[in-house]
């Protein structure tokens, strides 16, 4: 019997190893799998490369993972946002690397990685410093830059509802990077607000088909990151 449901975030992240490449869903707090990230902090894997649009806020979620020196390198499009102090501080000290990628290129690199496409050409960043050293090629008189697909060992994703096959639906703009990240990792680990019965998600409405998902854990009341940041909480909880 196929049953991808596991009983705790700790069980979901148990196999993550030192040096792993990890995609973490979310755009700001929307879609950030904060309970899985906290379980990963407890689990202890280090020297990670993290692919995520942002670098987290305050001292919870991704920001806390970075603060605990588990992240060697971030691949992201917007590392400084309101209330993100941890990454800028460590970056300026030279304690964490950064690969800056335009947001659409980041999404497409992940999509390509998941689709078995090793590289592609895009117009984004041509004639800018972010295209320096990259292969350029003209098609129909327009210059494009070559970018590589991205794959990961693990993806951590948050969704609204999942069934035991790993079929997923999302909530509003929390969908963001989730569906493409699910396709691009060896093992996609998902936290779902609700586990539902097979068939409860209309097959016409499944956003991520279960084939892309390895494990699902139910987290009924996920943390509201901006609330935690406003309350100046830090993980591990004091």
């Amino acid at each position: 019997m196929i049953n991808k449901i596991v009983s705790s975030p700790a069980e979901a992240v148990a196999n993550i190893f030192d040096g792993a490449m990890i995609m973490i869903g979310g755009f700001g707090e929307a879609g950030s799998p904060i309970e899985l990230i906290h379980a990963l902090i407890d689990q202890g894997a280090k020297n990670l490369t993290v692919i995520s649009n942002n670098t987290g806020s305050g001292h919870v979620g991704i920001a806390s993972l970075i603060e605990h020196r588990r992240v060697a390198k971030m691949i992201c499009s917007f590392p400084r946002t309101l209330n993100s102090t941890v990454f800028p501080e460590l970056y300026n000290k030279g304690e964490v690397d950064l690969e800056l990628v335009p947001q659409g290129t980041l999404a497409e690199r992940i999509r390509a990685g998941g689709a078995g496409i090793p590289a592609f050409y895009t117009p984004s960043s041509v004639n800018t410093s972010l295209a320096n050293g990259k292969e350029l090629r003209d098609f129909d008189g327009i210059t494009y830059v070559m970018e590589y697909g991205l794959k990961a060992d693990f993806s951590l994703v948050k969704c609204e509802a999942a069934d035991r096959y790993g079929n997923l639906i999302y909530n509003k703009t929390a969908r963001n990077f989730g569906p493409v990240m699910c396709t691009a990792a060896d093992q996609t680990l998902v936290q779902a607000k609700r586990i539902v019965e097979l068939g409860d998600i209309d097959p016409e409405c499944v956003v991520t088909p279960g084939i892309f998902v390895k494990k699902v854990v139910e987290v009924t009341n996920p943390s509201d990151e901006s609330k935690l940041v406003a309350e100046e909480r830090s993980y591990p909880w004091k």
Binding site: L106, A107, N171, T173
Partner: protein, 218 residues
């Protein structure tokens, strides 16, 4: 002695109104963070414009009441928003398919500098020690059909934002169609920077004095 100040140029709201007038009915529009967001409040009656926010929503609606705030419904500036009836959610690769694939009609952006050739710099001042962050800016200028810039004409220390060559790191080259400032509306055409309209109490000489790049009277 009493000095009565004469109003020179347009207010932020008037600037946003000018941009909104140039957005045709039935357009799909992406608005940048900050001043561009004001444009949505000033679309003339009778026009239906659909707003795209690159984090994954077509049909962005107004800001909700605090009690209606949904942390999973935000815009590209990570502010809480609403979705209109008929809106749709999608993932990031689809969102940037709309952008890069030339499906979005107009993007309204802020800028640090725009050059006479339509180059735009709006992601980094290149300051040492600054954390580089680009977001979707480079994808938007590379992919959206028409790029409008809304910005103050001069920086706080009086420097022209309309320059001969951008000195800040570029976001894109030769992409800007029109720039809307507090002093004027300027179209970037083959023949150069053509002044289409000037704000109250602004004349051509005054405008040129406040602009590094050479301007052309329309």
């Amino acid at each position: 002695m009493e000095i009565k100040e004469t109003k020179v140029g347009w207010s932020r709201i008037e600037m946003a109104q000018k941009v909104a007038l140039d957005i045709p009915d039935e357009s799909y529009v992406n608005l940048g963070i900050g001043l561009p967001e004001l444009v949505a409040d000033h679309v003339p009656e009778g026009r239906e414009v659909i707003y795209h926010t690159e984090n994954g929503l077509l049909g962005m609606g107004p800001i909700p009441e605090e009690s209606e705030r949904d942390p999973e419904l935000i815009n590209a500036g990570k502010k809480n928003i609403t979705a209109i009836k008929g809106g749709s959610f999608f993932h990031h690769a689809d969102s940037f398919t709309m952008i890069r694939g030339k499906h979005i009609d107009i993007c309204v952006l802020g800028a640090f500098q725009v050059s006479k050739d339509g180059d735009i710099a709006n992601w980094s001042t290149g300051k040492p020690g600054a954390i580089p962050a680009v977001g979707g800016a480079m994808d938007l200028v590379a992919g959206v059909k028409r790029i409008f810039v809304i910005t103050q004409h001069n920086t706080k220390d009086g420097k022209s934002k309309l320059v001969n060559e951008c000195t800040y790191p570029l976001t894109g080259k030769g992409v800007v169609e029109t720039i809307y400032t507090n002093l004027a509306i300027i179209d970037l055409k083959k023949e150069g920077l053509v002044v289409r309209e000037m704000g109250p109490n602004v004349d051509f000489e005054y405008l040129q004095e406040h602009t590094e790049a050479p301007l052309i009277k329309s």
